[in-house]
């Protein structure tokens, strides 16, 4: 057999993994154009809103409200201090309820996560109550505690308790066995064990659970305020609805949304700080 000989060959890094994608990226729009496309829809909606309300007659006053009117209502409410009072009331209840629910949830989660016996004992009850929407408890709690602060705090606590408990239990159970073995091998105990192994391992899922709980509880609180309250953003919106003041309602919606976003982003920041060692 004869072989045609040629130059020696050297090894070369595999190109194929990147090249075809590179070929694909070459097609399509320029990156700047693509990014600005994202603003198209919101801008279109905003324009539509302004356009329809500009030409609306008086008869449609409570069906459509212009952005200007919403801003005016916001300014009015802020000026009279009403808005601030409502926000303070809502936030106060959220804070107390969240604190109560979160601490109870942490406690239960730690115990349930560490001791399977507890989990099997309480598990089914926990699950049964958890999957009932928090809002469904409102009638019951109103009958028990009246329309005062207590019932709202209780419902926020309920809404906070379950996600936090679940996340904590998962976090505790998720501490890898191997870490605990290492701890035992190097005789890391007590406070050190907590600080160097248990806490860093469990804190991330717990904080995620806290964030989810916060978001959910905020929604539940607003709903509770709509149904039965004397103050708060939810109640402000409900009163606006009863008085057919769409602009007031929209102000409420705006602030509810912004508050929710702020809370969520705040928690995410905390999450990220605590997880500096971890890549998302």
């Amino acid at each position: 057999m004869s072989l045609t000989h040629s130059t020696a060959i050297g090894a070369r890094t595999e190109l194929r993994a990147t090249a075809p994608d590179g070929v694909r990226a070459a097609r399509g729009f320029a990156p700047g154009v693509e990014r600005s496309l994202g603003w198209l829809a919101p801008l279109a909606l905003l324009t539509l809103w302004v356009a329809t309300t500009r030409h609306a007659s008086d008869g449609t006053a409570h069906v459509m409200v212009s952005p200007r009117e919403v801003l005016d209502a916001a300014r009015e409410l802020a000026g009279s201090g009403e808005l601030a009072a409502h926000v303070r009331a809502s936030m106060g209840r959220l804070a107390v309820g969240f604190a109560v629910g979160a601490s109870l949830g942490l406690a239960y989660g730690l115990v349930a996560g560490a001791f399977p016996a507890i989990r099997s004992l309480f598990g089914s009850t926990f699950h049964a109550i958890r999957q009932v929407p928090s809002i469904a408890f409102i009638p019951m709690l109103v009958l028990m505690f009246g329309v005062e602060e207590t019932f709202k705090i209780v419902i926020v606590a309920k809404s906070t308790f379950f996600p936090v408990a679940l996340a904590t239990a998962d976090g505790v159970r998720g501490v890898p066995r191997s870490f605990l073995d290492v701890a035992r091998a190097y005789r890391v105990r007590g406070l050190n064990l907590l600080r160097y192994i248990l806490l860093p391992a469990t804190v991330p899922p717990i904080v995620t659970g806290l964030r989810i709980a916060l978001g959910r509880s905020w929604m539940v609180l607003v709903a509770a305020e709509i149904l039965a309250a004397e103050s708060g953003l939810g109640q402000m919106m409900e009163r606006g609805r009863q008085m057919l003041r769409l602009d007031v309602v929209l102000v409420g919606v705006l602030f509810t949304g912004v508050a929710g976003l702020a809370l969520e982003e705040g928690m995410r920041l905390v999450e990220r700080r605590l997880q500096r060692w971890r890549r998302a």
Partner: protein, 264 residues
């Protein structure tokens, strides 16, 4: 007789962030009907790219690729392809996976069913028609992929490192299976592999590629009759000759992939 596959002067380059990266240069090769040809070479020499061009899965090249004298335009059922990962659709049974290759053939359901049965028997998977891919071993799944590639009676069967993802023992077993299937079926085979021993054992012709951009460095004929005994001394000689080409004199650290092939 016309060559089943004819590749003339093929060149390809990728555009990456404005730079041009040449991958293939001046590839000429012929595949006779019923012939078994392997392409070996180090990683990155473009052999898989060449196969994908022939399969029609990639385009944008200079030169000519013809099947039976007809230039190719994209993928076609006259070229079957077996990938390194079996690519069986996980939601279909083995039989349905093979049958899916018949979607664009105007045949009756009964004819399709019997074709499927026939080809599953050919690859030794009779009885596994209703199994799901996740229930199969790697070797069995790859056999199903081969059945799927052969069911349209392709003029050329393209295999892209078909046994690369399997363990060593399964690989050896499947090499024997492939030889048996090919002898029954006799379609032209073009296989890309990094395993020189595998190439020499199975092929009539081994094409060695290398360099950057990839070129054909040499062609080694293996004029031994089929079916072959793995232990033949002549096979070893040809293998050594090819390896000495791949592991060039200037190479201090040996290419780990090729080094593994040389181990007994």
């Amino acid at each position: 007789m016309r060559a089943a596959l004819q590749v003339r002067g093929v060149r390809k380059a990728y555009e990456l962030h404005g730079r041009t990266l040449p991958v293939l240069a001046d590839i000429d090769l012929d595949l006779e009907p019923g012939q078994f040809v392997s392409i070996v070479g180090a990683s990155g020499c473009g052999k898989s790219t060449l196969l994908r061009l022939i399969a029609g899965l990639e385009g944008d090249y200079a030169g000519q690729i013809q099947i039976d004298g007809v230039p190719i335009t994209g993928p076609g059922l006259e070229r079957g392809i077996v990938f390194q990962d079996h690519r069986l659709l996980p939601w279909l049974t083995v039989a349905d996976n093979v049958r899916i290759a018949l979607l664009n053939r105007p045949i009756t359901a009964e004819a399709a069913a019997s074709l499927v049965r026939e080809h599953l028997a050919l690859v030794g998977l009779q009885g596994f028609e209703t199994a799901y891919p996740h229930q199969l071993s790697g070797g069995m799944a790859q056999r199903a992929a081969i059945a799927r590639a052969l069911i349209n009676d392709p003029k050329v069967l393209l295999l892209d490192e078909p046994f690369g993802a399997l363990d060593a023992l399964t690989r050896i077993r499947l090499q024997g299976e492939l030889q048996r299937i090919w002898l029954r079926n006799r379609s032209a085979m073009l296989m890309v592999t990094h395993d020189v021993r595998e190439a020499v054992y199975l092929s009539d012709l081994v094409i060695v590629m290398g360099g950057s951009p990839g070129r054909i460095v040499s062609r080694a004929r293996v004029p031994l009759p089929h079916p072959r005994d793995r232990a033949l001394a002549e096979l070893r000689e040809i293998e050594e000759e090819i390896l000495s080409q791949l592991i060039g004199p200037a190479d201090a650290p040996a290419n780990p992939v090729v080094a593994a092939t040389t181990a007994a």
